[in-house]
Symmetry: C2
Subunit: 374 residues, 2 copies
Amino acid sequence: MKAGFVRGKQRFFCKDCTYYFTLPNPKERSERRGRHQTTIIDIAQDLGVSNSTVSRALHNHPDINPNTRKAILDKAIELDYQPNQLAHSLVKSRTNTIGIVVPEFLTQFFPNVIVGAQRVLRQADYNLMIMQSGESYETEVANTKALLANRVDGLLVSMSHETNNYDHFLSFEKRDIPVVYFNRVIEGLGTHKVVANDYRGAFAAVEHLILNGYRRIAHLGGPPNLLISQERLRGYQEALRKYGHPLLPELVIHGDFTAQKALIYGQHLLDMAQPPDAIFAVNDPTAIEVLALAKAKGIRIPEELGVVGFSDDPIAVHIGKGLTTVKQPTTQIGEAAAKLILGLLRGEQANLSPQTIVLEAELVVRGSSIKAAG
Amino acid sequence: MKAGFVRGKQRFFCKDCTYYFTLPNPKERSERRGRHQTTIIDIAQDLGVSNSTVSRALHNHPDINPNTRKAILDKAIELDYQPNQLAHSLVKSRTNTIGIVVPEFLTQFFPNVIVGAQRVLRQADYNLMIMQSGESYETEVANTKALLANRVDGLLVSMSHETNNYDHFLSFEKRDIPVVYFNRVIEGLGTHKVVANDYRGAFAAVEHLILNGYRRIAHLGGPPNLLISQERLRGYQEALRKYGHPLLPELVIHGDFTAQKALIYGQHLLDMAQPPDAIFAVNDPTAIEVLALAKAKGIRIPEELGVVGFSDDPIAVHIGKGLTTVKQPTTQIGEAAAKLILGLLRGEQANLSPQTIVLEAELVVRGSSIKAAG
DNA sequence: TTGTAAGCGTTATCAA
DNA sequence: TTGATAACGCTTACAA
């Protein structure tokens, strides 16, 4: 048996088993105070019990002496102990955290979804880690990487309009981390989704315009790769078809949700030789741009131009005589997505096929679409 | 030397040193595959190097053979290795994460602040963990606890209007975790703050009303404990004083930022025997309630009632003839708060006295406050 | 240039 | 009922 010193500790070598080891030194730890968060071990040492006993007390494990428990809990309060979630997550390989990636924060839609999701998750003792991509694919990838590195247990996603490659999402599924897409989803990706009934909402909006006497109805749409855009377009088309209106390709333009594009394409529509007498916009910001344009051009709303938006942004009720729009169940989308992912984490839908939850949308009629004499 | 088996592993006892130990078994780990994220050790084993070598390669440490490094980086990609931030944070006692607690998400103000903060933090390779209290003290406490458990390196806070007890924030400072308060701060708490110049903004707003011929100017204020409310009130008072207007206590009412209270108090003001001819509201939502009330009562804006808000919410430009309001530098507040906290983490202001950063606010004049003939 | 092993703060499995 | 210790995945001081 040889012996030596390593970092101030005596080190031994067992010849028979060719193994080095040092003697544990119980004094050592207690020196290591100052600028350090109190741990389970600090409590244990102060009380002369073992750390496992402390751990049991803090999680009221059945096998523990009530007196011991009380002493430990008191000491924990005295030392202002706060559990270290990092260590906990590391050993459990579970962080109790769900990540959410949204394209933006600046309309009311996503904040509302987040509020709904947070409510459900907090109840189940999960945290929500919120990331915002600013409609940038690059940032979205960086966000998902960060969430992966932080080992979130699940992911809620609404994609940026730039996103055309989905590898960064698929790498969650590869690791068996459940993913639920909401609102901005794409077709084909065989996964769990929560969406509003965009088709029915759009259909109702356009039907309403038709029944109010508008004849030449245009559609300012969203990015064509998103299901949301496809469904709203389909609703528009089906409504026209039902009432025998022609589908005129020149009256459909795809934007990208930005005000800038809305302005350019809206201008284009209003400047046509034969301009539309109504516009169904893919969302409220787009519709609001159209209203502003009309005002600037002296086009009267709703007599000369009917306008309908989508989302029921709080602005909608205040603008002009009110903007007719399709109201989406925002918080409910968040709640549904959260519930779905909690179910997946419990392994409920383990070998079920991907689920799509569709929540109904509702037309809210205001001043921008009611011709005085239909 | 005794020997025995523990959990399938041979266990030895060294009599001389009274120490138990087991022989490390290098084979064992490689069996443990399936549903597990690839780790540094998986890479090490595949390549027959040690985990420290892998760690060095991944952080391009200088002392490493370029060939070894290349092999390791290639293998990391092949195995789709993603670092485990939890383990990393645990050993470094640093999470590279800043927490932010905001009272709400549903006006544009806080989302904008968050966007600004996130931009600065991401550049410094920090993550932002966003929490929202919904103006509830309880939730705010729960949020800060969660952030503490997650060992954020710093905290950005804007308080809920319910908050009157600050222990949950102080427990960060007790642990030497820097805290920066922004926007909704309280006086006295001797800490770092970032605020807009509420005083100057309010002064400019009320001065503008006076110069436009309004004589009896009321103020619908915010919760009196918040500095933001105090400063806006002070600006209101100083402007009146400067122009020799009397300070009438009956024309000042403190609300709590909710639309409900705004409605009740607005109603009260307009129903007075001698009602005000102008109202300076503590924020835009309050001002918008007043405008709606006036409309319902048939009071003409701005002839019979001048209205000024605060925040320049995007709604403000669209509502009626436009709402005059004080524009705050939202993203800049976020950026400034983030920069300040990064500085604190670098230990720059270590023994400097708490810093208060004041960013200028700007009056934006619109239709709600310009009398035709002053 | 590479390997060994301690340590970060927990939980959990055995032994006692 | 309690204690000892391995394990979670990583960094790093020191040894080789």
